[in-house]
Symmetry: C2
Subunit: 119 residues, 2 copies
Amino acid sequence: MTESEALAAFAALSQETRLRIVRLLVTAGPEGLAAGTIAAALDGAAASRVSFHLASLDRAGLIVARRDGRSILYSAAFPALADLVGFLMRDCCQGHPEVCTPAVAALDSCCSAREPGRD
Amino acid sequence: MTESEALAAFAALSQETRLRIVRLLVTAGPEGLAAGTIAAALDGAAASRVSFHLASLDRAGLIVARRDGRSILYSAAFPALADLVGFLMRDCCQGHPEVCTPAVAALDSCCSAREPGRD
DNA sequence: TCCTCATTTCAACGATTCTTGAAATGTGAC
DNA sequence: GTCACATTTCAAGAATCGTTGAAATGAGGA
């Protein structure tokens, strides 16, 4: 994870609609949700608006898209989220790395193996 | 951590200068660094510019300020960072919470006890 | 008290971002 | 092939944010 990638990721998460989408997809799990389902979950937000934000999250690498019939399913990019946490917390426990480092590593390995789709 | 607080935190982290400041303070540990030291570490950025971003990070709750003589020392707000991670990753491991939940909890407890200053 | 140093506040300009509605694309059903 | 549906693309307007330099604040030393 480079600084540019982290900046793009944080910028993506700093917008209300996008943060809600990411959290929705994080709890939805690897299966993901269709764009229309996401729009419906967001107080029936306009399709173009949701699409704009989904594209933004995809560009930031935080979500992954795959087509399923007429729908497009979006799911959280768990490895990217774990990387982002690692980027932010790296070296956070000066003098007590035995506490923090394993936690970051656990988050990373927890999520890195759980991505569906493109391998 | 509310959604508003998380949004403010991510917005704060989505700016290059601010992200560098936070990472600098995360690696600096609980002692923190003076505003002038931070400015010097940022390619000698203008004092007003650094001050603007420090104020922004402070408002977002990501850093803590304390006066030390003529200097003002800033340090990372480790508990807030851990909370932010928890907010983002909550319920991330559908079906395998035994991996992710302890990692989030470890990050949280790792950092929650290590804050200097205002108690 | 006066001076110097560290930092913050202020005002103004330039740049980027979000929303909306209409039109276009791509997919499956008849 | 045509229709209906799900989603994306496009253009335009309103709002928010970052940088800069100058002036103000606050703290310590002579």
